[in-house]
């Protein structure tokens, strides 16, 4: 190839020739990294401006929604990383295979365990919007693996950029521990410099052997990926509207979110008292029975009764 080039440009004194030749702008991007960036610029802005994301950036994120968001991410990354594993030797994906550095599904599993407890797997489910996204990822991975690049690009590059900002916002907004629990998704232990890694990732994308048509298809798929993500955000927004209004600013958490003992909550008791006498009485009975001191009292009362009975009888 180099020999040919030498001959054709022999008229010019050097081997490569000037960058700006005639009308054609030789710097116009053909590199996949640049084509993808340009092609997704618009949809990226759109995603940034969804209500969910805007609120998130301002620290207005309710813990319940954040948890559901983490669940959605878990299913998404599990699907994506499964397909990546399947295609790790495929010529159209191999250069981008960075499991140690990038893969998130284990970190997400740890986050979900932190939020939902050890039996989190039985407590979470894949929402409808997430399922759409997951289905597409599986379809692509099995039928047209090159398009997997678009999904990997959309998620991982994002995680390494704005994703880092989201971590700080989330930590502060939900008072998560500074030791990082609940936020391991955002922590890339295998990457020392996000900037350097993104550069490496771009160089690998550009090493894929693809014609212009293929690159355009990748842009389309990347735009689709953004849209799937926006669908998930919208679904979360909707769910957010149905969750009990909590007064986050005043610092009072929603019961479910904090996982506290609902029977200790005076508000709850008042609510149930208001809702009906018998219900209240049975609630009260249940509350007493559930309460450890209540149990002890009942036991001792029973024992005292037994003692008295024995005394009386004997």
């Amino acid at each position: 190839m180099s020999a040919e080039k030498m001959e054709t440009t022999a008229s010019v004194s050097n081997g490569a020739g000037p960058v700006y030749e005639g009308k054609e702008d030789a710097l116009s991007p053909e590199d996949l990294s640049e084509v993808l960036a340009a092609g997704t610029k618009e949809v990226h802005e759109k995603a940034e401006n969804t209500q969910f994301v805007k609120d998130f950036l301002r620290g207005r994120i309710r813990k319940e929604l954040f948890k559901l968001g983490a669940v959605a991410l878990y299913y998404t990354y599990t699907a994506m990383e499964e397909e990546i594993e399947r295609n790790k030797e495929h010529s159209h994906f191999a250069p981008l295979y960075f499991p140690t550095e990038l893969h998130r599904h284990e970190a997400l599993a740890r986050d979900l365990e932190y939020f939902y407890g050890p039996d989190w797997q039985s407590q979470v489910r894949c929402s409808q919007a997430t399922q759409h996204y997951v289905d597409r990822i599986h379809q692509v991975g099995q039928e047209d693996p090159v398009l997997l690049v678009a999904h990997a690009y959309t998620r991982y590059m994002g995680d390494l950029s704005g994703g880092q900002v989201l971590k700080k916002v989330a930590q502060r907004a939900m008072k998560l521990p500074s030791t990082g629990e609940g936020l391991e998704f955002y922590q890339f232990d295998g990457i020392h410099s996000a900037k350097a890694f993104k550069q490496l990732y771009r160089s690998r994308m550009n090493e894929l052997e693809l014609d212009m048509e293929m690159k355009k298809r990748l842009v389309d798929e990347a735009v689709k990926a953004f849209q799937f993500n926006m669908e998930v955000f919208e679904e979360l927004e909707e769910i957010g509207k149905t969750i009990q209004e909590d007064v986050l600013d005043a610092g009072m958490p929603v019961h479910g979110a904090m996982g506290g003992d609902i029977n200790k909550c005076p508000y709850y008791a008042v609510k149930t008292a208001a809702s009906g006498g018998t219900a209240y009485a049975s609630q009260l009975a249940m509350a007493v029975l559930r309460h450890p001191t209540g149990q002890v009292l009942l036991a001792t009362w029973f024992a005292a009764l037994a003692g008295l009975a024995a005394w009386y009888l004997m």
Partner: protein, 678 residues
């Protein structure tokens, strides 16, 4: 039942005399007593919670918010106010920490959101004694203020005739170097306040979130407070007592099994090694090779090989190996002598702040000897805050004054620190020796000294060829200081002494791998241009080994071009045999070596790069070559980049700006990588 009654009552009457029945009255009585006791015990422990009658909460009548921070400060007795421009909360967090710090120095601080206060009152700050305004300003987006600082920003811009001569201030900026307008907001506030007549009492702090924002903040703040104390003539909380963060506990008769002897993480982790290995749990690799690379001259260059068999550690060429070095024992002993202490005393330093996650400054309990050898940095020049805190232990008042002065922001103080400490390369021992009236207690000193850091080296081998061995190429650091002492680099001297012996005792190096992003192209057909003078050649030895291996595997390998530089061909031409062999075998398609001091004028790698400009430009522009630069950051990397701009200009027919953009774009696209150090 009645029958039973009759029976049992018949039985119970003689009960008092007999002790045969199953339940005597006494038993029942005792049983009930026990129950009563248990009930009493439970009752007195925890009152059963009554479900309360709850009144509806009255929302308190909204009070008119105090928008005058001056009034607020006066009312609450505060003299320091920390304004924050924060979007994600970090700026606010830093402001809170700074306002809390104030009390350690006998002052009172408060954090304030500029959006909530009348910033026009800044000129009134002099109404308060010893007042100081600190600004923690984050930059948002393209050099913009954060939302809550927008009004303040507008106010600063609009009011040219505002007289802020009554305002003393300092700014800490939060930003990210990957953005073009790095710390624009912080820099603007710092500059603008000065323009409007305010008095800056400490340098602008620049925090880089792309690097380590927390570290930047902590270093700045450590030097900032002593400067503040100096400025206000305030003693740091009490003359006799000092603000200690940790409390000393001396141990006598402690089981040696519970004492740390140099482990980084888990106790005994050097005796019982368990994967996975990382920065908290390093692997003890044995040294299998330690040879000199130089042929002559007084610089000592070395090649080491570490055996990682059985560790399950994997690496790739281009990665970094981190090692945990120890300090020179002679230096540690001298410190013990100068301080007049028994270094083998076993101690713990416990954090006085019980809520802190950091219980000790280094693994405790341990001996002073271990702390000074394994855990503390005793070779770098101490920072100003260390001098400030130790000043109280100088019995000579002039010494005390000087030490405090060096921590201040006064020009004489800064100059003194620059000359006496930095310029003269004085480490803590030198300071103690040259200032005999300074006699600090060793435990306070141990609290103040920074932790000894791991050192990183670019791996000089390819895992394809050497899967169980990690190679290191390093130059031993040793130099004479202006005071006539000889300063030695901690890690390089330590490595130099890791000899390979035949007597059964193995030299070991605690290490772990840090993945880098310095990688050969995925496709072997892509040409590579490697520029690595001096020890910068390290990762390229790995690259060359890997390209050779690929060739052996029958793969088609693109051009492999090497630029190396050193001082004298006969002295420090590292890996000469290996490089010349590689050239002979065609693994290196081109080997260019610059010997800087072998002729009249200096010849460096960048000169050779310019000589080859046609060929290089072709590789870069048409053949998709990847460029790699490794070595000195300060001059070489910069000069090589400049040479490439020139080539782009000349042969690419571009203007200087276009050439610069072109090369910078190569960096963004990962085709121009740097592994440089200063």
């Amino acid at each position: 039942m009645t029958d039973m009654d009759a029976e049992t009552s018949a039985h119970t009457e003689p009960m008092a005399d007999e002790e045969e029945s199953l339940f005597s009255n006494l038993d029942i009585f005792l049983f009930s007593l026990i129950i009563a006791f248990v009930v009493y015990w439970f009752m007195s422990r925890k009152k059963p919670e009554p479900i309360p009658e709850f009144k509806k909460l009255d929302t308190p009548a909204p009070t008119t918010r105090e928008t005058s921070f001056i009034e607020k400060m006066k009312k609450t007795g505060k003299n320091i106010i920390v304004f924050y421009g924060s979007q994600t909360g970090t700026g606010e967090e830093f402001a809170n920490r700074l306002s809390k710090d104030a009390q350690r120095y006998g002052m009172k601080g408060m954090a304030a959101d500029p959006e909530e206060y009348e910033m026009g009152e800044l000129c009134r700050l002099s109404e308060i004694k010893n007042a100081l305004a600190i600004f923690c300003m984050a930059t948002y987006g393209e050099g913009d203020p954060t939302d809550n600082a927008q009004d303040f920003y507008d106010w600063l811009q609009e009011n040219d005739d505002e007289d802020l001569s009554g305002l003393t201030y300092t700014v800490f900026a939060l930003g990210n170097k990957t953005y073009e307008h790095y710390n624009a907001m912080g820099k603007y506030v710092d500059k603008r306040l000065e323009e409007l007549g305010a008095k800056r009492i400490f340098d602008l702090g620049l925090g880089d979130d792309d690097g380590n924002l927390e570290e930047d903040f902590v270093s700045w703040r450590e030097q900032f407070w002593p400067a503040v104390c100096e400025h206000f003539g305030v003693e740091a909380l009490g003359d006799d007592s000092s603000i200690r963060q940790y409390e000393l506990k001396e141990h006598t008769d402690l089981n040696m099994n519970k004492v740390y002897s140099g482990e980084i993480g888990r106790l005994k982790s050097f005796e019982v090694q368990k994967p996975p290995y990382d920065s908290k749990n390093p692997f003890l690799a044995s040294v299998t090779v330690n040879r000199r690379l130089h042929k002559a001259g007084n610089r000592h260059l070395m090649h080491l090989e570490l055996d990682i068999t059985g560790s399950k550690i994997r690496y790739e060429s281009g990665d970094h190996v981190a090692v945990f070095p120890t300090n020179d024992s002679a230096l540690v002993n001298k410190l013990g002598q100068v301080l007049g202490v028994d270094l083998d005393a076993v101690i713990s330093l416990n954090n006085l702040d019980e809520e802190s996650n950091k219980k000790h400054p280094f693994p405790c309990p341990t001996s002073y000897r271990t702390a000074l050898t394994h855990y503390l940095d005793i070779t770098n020049s101490p920072r100003t805050n260390v001098l400030y805190e130790l000043a109280q232990y100088a019995s000579d008042p002039k010494d005390q004054e000087n030490m405090r002065k060096m921590a201040s922001s006064s020009p004489e103080g800064k100059a003194l620190y620059q000359n006496w400490v930095l310029g003269a390369s004085r480490n803590i021992l030198a300071i103690l020796e040259d200032m005999p009236s300074l006699k600090p207690p060793i435990d306070h000193m141990c609290e103040l000294l920074p932790r000894l850091q791991a050192r990183y080296y670019s791996i000089a081998s390819s895992s394809k060829v050497h899967p169980n061995s990690i190679h290191i190429c390093a130059v031993v650091v040793e130099y004479e200081t202006p005071t006539g002492r000889v300063n030695k680099g901690v890690a390089t001297n330590w490595l130099k002494n890791k000899l390979v012996t035949n007597n059964g005792h193995k030299s070991t190096v605690p290490m772990f791998i840090r993945k880098s992003q310095f990688r050969l192209p995925f496709k072997a057909t892509n040409p590579v241009i490697m520029i690595g003078p001096g020890t910068g050649i390290a990762p390229f030895m790995g690259f060359i080994q890997e390209r050779a291996w690929l060739k052996q595997q029958g793969k088609e390998v693109g051009e492999t071009v090497m630029y190396f530089g050193c001082r004298h061909k006969s002295e420090d031409y590292l890996y000469q045999e290996e490089l010349e062999d590689a050239e002979k075998n065609g693994v290196l398609t081109q080997l260019n070596v610059a010997f800087s001091r072998d002729q009249e004028q200096k010849v460096y790698v960048q000169h050779l790069v310019k000589r080859n400009k046609e060929h290089l430009w072709k590789l870069i522009h048409s053949d998709n070559a990847h460029i790699y630069v490794c070595g000195d950051a300060k001059n070489m990397a910069h000069d090589v980049q400049a040479a490439l701009y020139e080539i782009g200009e000349e042969l690419g027919g571009m203007t200087r700006t276009q050439a610069t953009d072109y090369i910078k774009k190569l960096m963004t696209k990962g085709r121009y990588s740097q592994d440089v150090w200063s």
